[in-house]
């Protein structure tokens, strides 16, 4: 008994010292890692975004992890201190950005796919159709390949183009069309217009579906479709078509559905096929935002090539296509379509009327690569910086007051044992706070509430024990015996009741993760930690302290009516 008390005293002292060391704000860390408080978003203010993979895009753990890493690197580059990026529930990514000032810019930087493409805009043969201008959305072979795994809205689309066979068919179509345009010069714009018409007609279908539809429509050939084509073409295509068309046809030409939007990207007007990508962002080594152009007032992105397969193709293309246009396309949208001036073998410049902020965002996205899955925002939570500070101050004050009152209550109600319980409560608070810093637990307001609730449980353990000791004293037992019995008899109900709450808290923790709600998780984590710590402090620590009191105080303590009980009187 006495021996075990001494042993426990050593353990308690060691734990106290360790806890105090971790609480000490200036501590140099432990095992080489820093021990710091991690305040939650609702306390220090910031932004929390739940991103989800687009519906219909096939995702797996690997892809999500890759996306997470890219998002993480982009977020780090934003200069956010201690951001949190986590994959949640299979197809979601939670991003927490404490203290962010401009939420809109941050969301844009994080969620954009960032697929940069250098696209061949050189006209095929003698095709004179004008190429899409800046701002237009276009479809490229690389985009098709990327979304190839996408089980598009309709089963038809998948079966039509998802298989290698269909792709081969498409390639063949190009080679068939090319000689035709080369021989019959006037027919070419019409063919282009027909493509546009076909594309425009199928506004709601998936890109791949449109392509196969085109093949069906375009096969009958050019002349017959001339009028219908002109009627439905986009402004660009109409322009091209009117060059050869009759005035009558021109007046009829009212654009019905504009091609070149995000949902309905343009195809190459010369071939009627998706554009050919020369290189993607993967061919870049580095990208930095900077001032470009003669006036040096326009922002752009300077890049260097990586020297891999993609960039070699780029170097070859630029050296053989000098004088021809090449488009720079981001996430399907044409940024600019400059003419190749010289062979680009080491690097180049991307221009497109950027603001400084946009150029920096783009450079950042290029540096860390494109997301393997397109993401969209599912929920946003934003807390202003000073708002959090106000409410945390109020809550901490309230919490301290509450615990103080509890301490006074114990002291008044139980006197000396109450003081012992208060000491245990202090140690309880110290251990928990140390654990929050060590693990680390993100401290949100609900997390603080979780801690305060567990204070209730901690004190409850002591109350159960003390009430039990009093009962044993009333039954006429000696103080030593009563204390010992009090602890052993109260133990099962303390244990069982704590475990039941721990079970529920674990369920809350698990489902809280499903909500993606950090508030719910924060609460359950501090509650669970408190309930476990309480098993140690309320039972072992209090018991040890009381034993020490008995052995140090000796008979003086025994004569003193410690628990204020008249022996032999029961309440009956």
């Amino acid at each position: 008994m006495r021996n075990s008390t001494g042993l426990w005293l050593v353990v308690i002292a060691a734990i106290t010292i360790l806890a105090l060391y971790m609480i000490w704000p200036g501590n140099p860390g432990l095992f080489g890692r820093p021990i710091e408080v991690r305040p939650g978003l609702d306390i220090q203010g910031g932004l929390r975004v739940l991103l989800a993979a687009d519906v219909g895009v096939a995702v797996d753990a690997g892809k999500m992890d890759q996306a997470k890493q890219i998002v993480e690197r982009r977020v780090n580059a934003l200069g956010v201190v201690e951001p949190v990026v986590q994959v949640s529930g299979g197809n979601r990514i939670v991003v927490e950005l404490p203290g962010i000032k401009d939420p809109q810019a941050a969301i844009d930087t994080v969620k954009q796919t960032g697929l940069l493409e250098f696209v061949d805009f050189a006209p095929t043969g003698s095709c004179t159709a004008s190429m899409p201008g800046a701002g237009t959305y276009i479809l490229t072979d690389r985009q098709v390949a990327l979304r190839g795994t996408k089980p598009a809205g309709t089963a038809q689309a998948t079966s039509a183009a998802g298989t290698p066979a269909a792709t081969t068919a498409a390639t063949t179509a190009i080679t068939v069309t090319a000689p035709a345009t080369a021989t019959t010069v006037p027919a070419t714009p019409t063919t282009a217009a027909a493509t546009q018409a076909a594309t425009a007609a199928s506004t709601s279908a998936a890109p791949l579906f449109k392509r196969s539809e085109y093949q069906a429509t375009a096969a009958p050939t050019a002349v017959a479709t001339s009028q219908a084509a002109t009627a439905a073409a986009t402004p660009q295509a109409t322009q091209a078509a009117t060059a050869q068309a009759t005035p009558a046809a021109t007046t009829q030409a009212t654009p019905v559905a504009a091609s070149g939007t995000k949902d309905n990207p343009m195809l190459n007007p010369c071939t009627g096929q998706p554009f050919t990508t020369i290189m993607t962002g993967a061919g870049l080594q580095d990208a930095t935002a900077g001032l470009v152009g003669q006036t040096a007032s326009e922002w752009g992105v300077n890049f260097t090539l990586a020297g891999n397969e993609e960039s070699q193709r780029f170097a070859t293309h630029t050296s053989t296509h000098i004088g021809q246009p090449m488009a720079i396309v981001l996430d399907g949208q044409v940024l600019s379509a400059p003419v190749i001036q010289a062979a680009l073998t080491t690097g180049g410049q991307i221009t497109g009327n950027f603001t400084q902020q946009r150029a920096q965002e783009l450079a950042l996205q290029l540096r860390y690569g494109a997301l393997p899955v397109p993401l969209h925002v599912e929920s946003i939570e934003q807390v202003g910086a000073s708002l959090g500070a106000e409410s945390v101050q109020a809550s901490v004050r309230a919490g301290i007051l509450g615990v103080l009152v509890v301490g006074i209550f114990m002291l008044v109600y139980y006197r000396i044992p109450g003081l012992v319980a208060d000491l245990a409560l202090l140690l309880f608070a110290a251990i928990n706070f140390a654990l929050y810093k060590f693990i680390p637990v993100t401290l949100t307001l609900p997390a603080i509430v979780g801690f305060l609730i567990s204070v209730g449980a901690a004190v409850d353990g002591n109350i159960l024990i003390f009430e039990r000791v009093r009962e044993e004293l009333r039954a006429g037992r000696s103080l030593d015996k009563a204390i010992q019995l009090g602890f052993t008899r109260a133990w099962p109900s303390i244990r069982d009741s704590n475990i039941s709450t721990i079970i529920v808290a674990l369920i809350v923790y698990f489902f809280g993760g499903q909500f993606g709600a950090s508030a719910v998780r924060g609460f359950s984590v501090t509650l669970i930690l408190g309930l476990i710590t309480n098993l140690f402090t309320a039972v072992i620590v209090t018991h040890t302290f009381l034993n020490v009191l008995l052995s140090v105080g000796g008979d003086a303590v025994r004569r003193f009516n410690l628990f204020r009980v008249t022996p032999g009187t029961t309440e009956e």
Partner: protein, 336 residues
Amino acid sequence: MFNIVQRRKWFFLFSGILILAGLVSMAISIATYPEHSPVRLSIDFVGGSLLEMEFKPLPDAQPKGAVTEDMLTSVLTSFGAKDIRIQRLGEVGATGTNRWQVRTNYLDNETTEKIKTALDNAAKPLGLQLDRDTLRFNQVTPTVGSEVTRAAVVAVVVASFAVLGWIVWAFRGIPDSFRYGVCAVLAMIHDILVMVGAMSLMGLLFGWEADALFLTGLLTVVGYSVQDTIVVFDRIRENSARHRGEPYEMIVNRSIMETFSRSISMQVVVAFVLVSLFLMGGGSIRQFVGVLLIGLLSGTYSSTFTAIPLLVAWENGQLPFVGRNRERSRSAVARA
């Protein structure tokens, strides 16, 4: 000795009235709310946008008035917001400072940013600006909302069964441990009904909305209520062995009285903490704390005055549909 068990009918009646009041409020809610839910649901469950904002005087201007509800409504409607609900938080300050909470249907991020700018512009003629430092903004798509709802229902069901399982296991050594489990779960359902009823009433009266934290509070109370019940059960477990031959009713009542002072002390302690948090704590957790407080009160009440007397009623065969099974339990006690 005060006999709680003997007066159980009164306690059952009191619980019944509380629960009935809650059920009436829930019925009214189901009939009134567009979602047909028993409580007012937050955007956590149904999706939508929530904007809490404060208007402060411009640095170099003298405020000429305060932002009004009509102003906010017209700005929001012009951006196509629907189901708009506007609430003023606190009074208009001397300098024209005022704080608002606005809830709408789900608006995408771009629209929300435009709305913020438009609100800022609308406040300018009054010499006010939107304070971006005290902004709270939350936006949930309906998809996530329905997923959260599903997870919530599963969480409550799983928690109930886990607790039932744990009690049956913890009390496996004594006869009819299953009854203890069932009574504890009945007490748990009692607490859930009281809390949801209270939340429903607060929703009707003050516009309180049940969010993910409300659910957390609900489950926590479930855990605590069971904790209370277990303490008394544990005493019955002990007293059954010690006072063999005493009528069951007397053993149970003795157990309640012996743990009573502990129950009250515990309640007082937790109430201290929660009341101070409720009165002085941050506004964003007030509802959560309020719900916890109601739940913990109900939890202590249900353990002592509902779950335990139910056990006696069962033993005496006063419950409908279940047998009393006295012979079996008697002989089991004798064996133990």
